[in-house]
């Protein structure tokens, strides 16, 4: 672009990259959903686990990653590239970067689709991709960020529209979350151990996992809604001030809600409480987005009858509203005690992914394609049919999951009237009960998939009937020195920012300070809040002016957004990772895995067992009766990665060790039905023939030592010998039951691991402090609210 003084300039938008992302999204969406239907069918018919690489545990991560990163990811990029260029009245920063972004992202998807079925995984949900791919993701994301912010920097529109706020929040937050949660030490090209373990790993993972939903599946799509919905209905957005309030509250509050994935677990209770209440406080900000979407239609509701695009958008926003109501509901600890680990959660995420993301994608693509190819939509009736089959499919799916989740949750938690025994002691009884619902799920998902196929056909024929066109437009070039001139001082030392920080600081005092000081801090913050409101009432004009100015300055806006999204994570994670490390091991410390057990654990992770089995007995009577004493924080302190799980298609395994003889596990892995009648678990014949990996074992142990796991000093030979020796012991035991296995096979390693689950030591206090790796001396400051509690020290 030239810097000539000419006030007018004709530019051509890069619409090619939009088309590329759009087709990629549709194709990968079909693949991801096809895999979804397959794995749903596998839950009903275990015979469909055809081979090792087509088994549920390996395909489920492929399904989730494909839908999130490939389908919604590409859709988001299509929407962002299209709208950003127009909202900035300028072509994307760099065609080269756009190309690298597109092709790089597709390469990542292909490599994910190859590595995941092969069992290469990090073992954390939606963060499964192995470390070389993680680095590629981070790099491509940076390419995207540079390209995007470059576009903002050279924009010909002084003020940033609300859609761009959401894109900014997406880009910086996803970068932050992704990098922190993927910090790992490699042991080979295909394997690494995450640097966090146990409770810390859990907290970081769900800070990431929950906010992947927030900043990958929600904020970019809200941005897309803010651009494409008013375009489609040709009406002004309902409320600018609602945009401001719900944007800032959404990005600030969302980050705090992660611990609601860990309710009733061994995560410190104060974090659970914060997770629960921030989820409840998130309800209104989420609905702000829904209101702004739906109320924009006022005066244009008639379009709902005629335009399939509007149909999809309205349904999507409605599903968004339903989902963001259901989310806070599920975050209430008492509700979560029933719903967690059950199909209810599965239904919840699918009403989000299929209802909100999928329908937004469909609306977006039906709107874009005719414009990108200079033609008309090939068939409106076909699009309408797609709409109705999708709605029907989702409702069938979600309703089936509600029934299934609530029914199984009630059965699992049910005790007799005196509270002395479980009503349904056999887990399989509860699985059998939900089998019909799992069948309906396959039908619902398949109907949705058919709709996606119809969309591909319809859009393909639309494209064929036209020709790819890149829009050109005459724009007025703005004076560069008229925008982006705000300094740090005017950004951060403005009333809205200082009042916010003051209030937050006092509130943190309320949560973390010791008895007496806490209530004082609360009273101070309430008074302070009153002053802030009064101040706002008096000078809201100057606050608005400051905000209007902020919108003309992309970098200060981005910095403020970063601060808003970084705070929640800092306050929740840093105390747990740094200060509470020693306290994590209060009464029990996990026993260190032997080399063979560690190998078995890696196989457990690689086979994706965590997709169906949790290792976390919650602080709830039914859990304790069914699975044993509730899990303590110290009992997973050496688990890199933690395997607490988030779904129990099978029973919890936290105390599986020593529960059954080796022969039981041997038979169970060979044919689960032989020991557990009615089980839907896949058989694992390949574990009986494949050898476990002895070569990288010393490197793995060395990495564990680096991470602070107290292994005794062993030479490489000793490590391998130790593994084989333990293998021989297990084989000898199996022989007593007339079963034969080779001591270097995977089945032996996995039996060793399963028999170790739940083994712990109860060291004396001094020992604990000696063996605890790298405890920083307690820094004065953040206290532990659970400890400060009156009568809390039991």
């Amino acid at each position: 672009m030239t810097t000539s003084a000419a006030a007018k300039q004709t530019i051509e938008f890069n619409d090619k990259v939009v088309r590329q992302f759009m087709w990629a999204s549709i194709i990968w969406g079909l693949v991801g959903m096809l895999v979804g239907v397959l794995i749903a069918a596998q839950l009903n018919f275990h015979e469909l686990n055809l081979t090792s690489w087509l088994s549920f545990g390996r395909l489920r991560p492929l399904h989730t990653n494909a839908v999130i990163f490939a389908f919604v990811g590409n859709m988001m990029f299509a929407g962002i590239y299209y709208s950003t260029q127009r909202l900035c009245k300028v072509r994307m920063g760099s065609d080269l970067l756009s190309n690298i972004h597109f092709w790089g992202w597709q390469m990542i998807i292909v490599s994910a689709a190859i590595t995941l079925p092969l069992g290469f995984t990090r073992g954390q949900e939606y963060a499964e991709l192995i470390w070389p791919i993680d680095i590629a993701v981070a790099l491509i994301w940076v390419v995207f960020a540079v390209n995007f912010f470059w576009t903002l920097a050279k924009r010909n529109e002084p003020s940033l529209y609300v859609a761009l706020w959401f894109y900014i929040a997406t880009i910086i937050t996803v970068a932050m979350l992704y990098i922190v949660n993927h910090l790992s030490i490699p042991t080979s090209w295909t394997h690494s151990y995450t640097i966090f373990s146990g409770v810390q790993n859990a907290l970081v993972q769900w800070w990431y996992g929950h906010n992947a939903v927030a900043f990958f599946l929600t904020t970019p799509i809200l941005g897309i809604m803010y651009y494409f919905l008013p375009k489609a209905v040709e009406r002004p957005v309902y409320s600018y001030r609602l945009s401001i309030v719900h944007f800032w509250s959404l990005v600030f509050i969302y980050i705090w809600a992660g611990p609601h994935h860990l309710l009733n677990t061994s995560l410190p209770k104060w974090l659970q409480m914060l997770g629960m209440f921030f989820s409840l406080m998130l309800w209104a900000p989420s609905w702000g987005g829904m209101l702004n979407g739906l109320l924009t239609l006022r005066g244009a509701w008639d379009k709902l009858r005629t335009d399939p695009v509007v149909k999809f958008f309205v349904a999507a926003v409605t599903f968004y509203g339903m989902c963001t109501f259901e989310g806070p509901l599920l975050s209430i600890r008492a509700v979560n005690a029933l719903s967690h680990y059950s199909d209810w959660t599965i239904g919840h995420v699918h009403s989000g992914a299929l209802g909100w993301n999928g329908m937004m994608a469909a609306g977006l693509f039906y709107w874009l394609t005719p414009r990108l190819y200079g033609t008309k939509l090939y068939s409106v009736p076909m699009a309408n049919f797609h709409f109705w089959i999708s709605v029907f499919g989702i409702l069938l799916y979600v309703a089936a999951m509600w029934v299934s989740g609530i029914m199984q949750g009630l059965m699992l938690n049910s005790t007799n009237a005196a509270g002395t025994a479980l009503t349904y002691p056999n887990f399989l009884e509860t699985l059998t009960a939900i089998r019909p619902m799992m069948g309906f799920r396959v039908i619902g998902g398949a109907l949705y998939l058919v709709g996606m196929g119809l969309m591909l056909v319809n859009l393909w024929l639309t494209a064929r009937s036209g020709k790819a066109v890149n829009e050109t437009r005459e724009v007025t070039v703005i004076q560069r020195n008229s925008v982006d001139t705000m300094g740090l001082k005017t950004t951060f030392l403005a009333d809205p920012v200082t009042y916010f920080f003051g209030g937050l600081f006092l509130l943190m005092g309320w949560i973390f300070l010791p008895k007496g000081a806490d209530i004082t801090a609360l009273i101070c913050s309430l008074i302070f809040g009153g002053i802030a409101v009064k101040k706002f009432a008096g000078s809201h004009a100057s606050w608005s002016q400051w905000y209007d100015r902020l919108l003309e300055n992309w970098l200060p806006f981005t910095l403020l957004t970063f601060v808003a999204v970084a705070l929640g994570g800092l306050i929740q994670i840093v105390p747990t990772v740094m200060v509470n490390r020693a306290k994590n091991m209060e009464d029990r410390i996990q026993q260190v895995y032997t080399p063979l057990e560690l190998t078995g654990r890696d196989i457990y992770v690689s086979e994706g067992c965590y997709n169906c089995h949790s290792q976390m007995i919650r602080t709830m009577l039914p859990d304790v009766l069914r699975y044993g004493d509730y899990s303590r924080m110290g009992e997973s302190i050496y688990d890199h990665p933690f395997q607490w799980g988030s779904k129990r298609t099978g029973p919890d395994l936290a105390r599986e060790g020593g529960k059954y003889p080796h022969s039981w596990h041997f038979n169970h892995m060979k044919d689960p039905r032989s020991t557990s009648i009615g089980s839907n678990m896949p058989s694992y014949p390949h574990l009986f023939t494949q050898k476990f990996d002895q070569k990288t074992l010393p490197k793995k142990i060395a990495t564990m030592v680096t991470l602070g796991v107290p292994y005794p000093a062993m030479t490489d030979v000793e490590i391998k010998e130790d593994a084989i020796k333990q293998g021989i012991e297990i084989v000898n035991r199996l022989k007593e039951d007339n079963l034969s296995a080779s001591p270097d096979t995977k089945i032996v390693a996995i039996i060793a691991y399963l028999q170790k689950l739940g083994k712990y030591d109860t060291p004396e206090v001094e020992d604990k402090l000696k063996t605890a790796p790298g405890i920083p001396t307690l820094i004065p400051g953040p206290g532990n609210p659970d400890k400060n509690r009156p009568g809390g020290a039991e």
Partner: protein, 200 residues
């Protein structure tokens, strides 16, 4: 929903972004109130639990419930004797209930016919249909094994009392005993821990 009276048009902001304009409607009151209620709930609940100290911690709640169960079991066990268990094994209702639990929970290791053999293959459990016992043949001894599991669980039986509850354990035992008779001859298994200890 709007707070504006119908005859005053909402404020339309003049700026246009690629043809998109924005109204500046007031925030809906019901929306604001629902938000405020959540904030107040947060503050009130936190103060009540953390500052006032009302409400039991999860750990305490579990401990209380488990103590109650232990109490109940103690009372029940005091009433149980070998003779009573044998009597139960004659009670068709108890045996039927025990059989139902056995068929879902125990068959995997002990086989439907209690032989611990299925289609010629040995299952992990010990046979319960013969007269050889590893942990003693008194009903109360058997009851302890079902409740608490074998002394070395890696070689044998897991404890079933937590999951099944005492009542179901008693029923299952009644079902097993129904295949035997009081006073029948018995032998102690070669590897019986009782043998080593010299106890009969």
């Amino acid at each position: 929903m709007s707070q504006n009276s119908p005859d005053t048009e909402p404020v339309l902001r003049p700026h246009e972004y690629d043809g998109i304009q924005e109204y500046d409607q007031k925030l809906p009151n019901w929306w604001l109130f629902s938000w405020y209620i959540m904030m107040v709930a947060f503050v009130v609940c936190w103060v009540v639990y953390y500052q006032v100290g009302i409400g039991m911690s999860d750990e305490k709640e579990i401990a209380t419930a488990m103590a109650k169960i232990a109490d109940y079991q103690k009372k029940e066990l005091e009433q149980i004797s070998d003779d009573k268990l044998w009597a139960m094994s004659k009670d068709a209702k108890v045996v039927a209930a025990g059989s139902a639990t056995y068929q879902t929970t125990c068959v995997a290791c002990h086989a439907p016919d209690m032989t611990a053999m299925l289609a010629g293959a040995k299952l992990p459990g010990l046979p319960l249909s013969d007269q050889e016992w590893k942990h003693g043949n008194h009903p109360t001894q058997l009851l302890t094994i079902i409740r608490k599991g074998a002394p070395d669980v890696t070689k044998g039986m897991p404890p079933w009392e937590p999951q099944l509850g005492l009542q179901r354990v008693v029923e299952v035992l009644a079902y097993v005993l129904s295949k035997h008779s009081q006073g029948e001859p018995f032998t102690l298994a070669v590897d019986s821990p009782l043998k080593k200890a010299g106890v009969q």
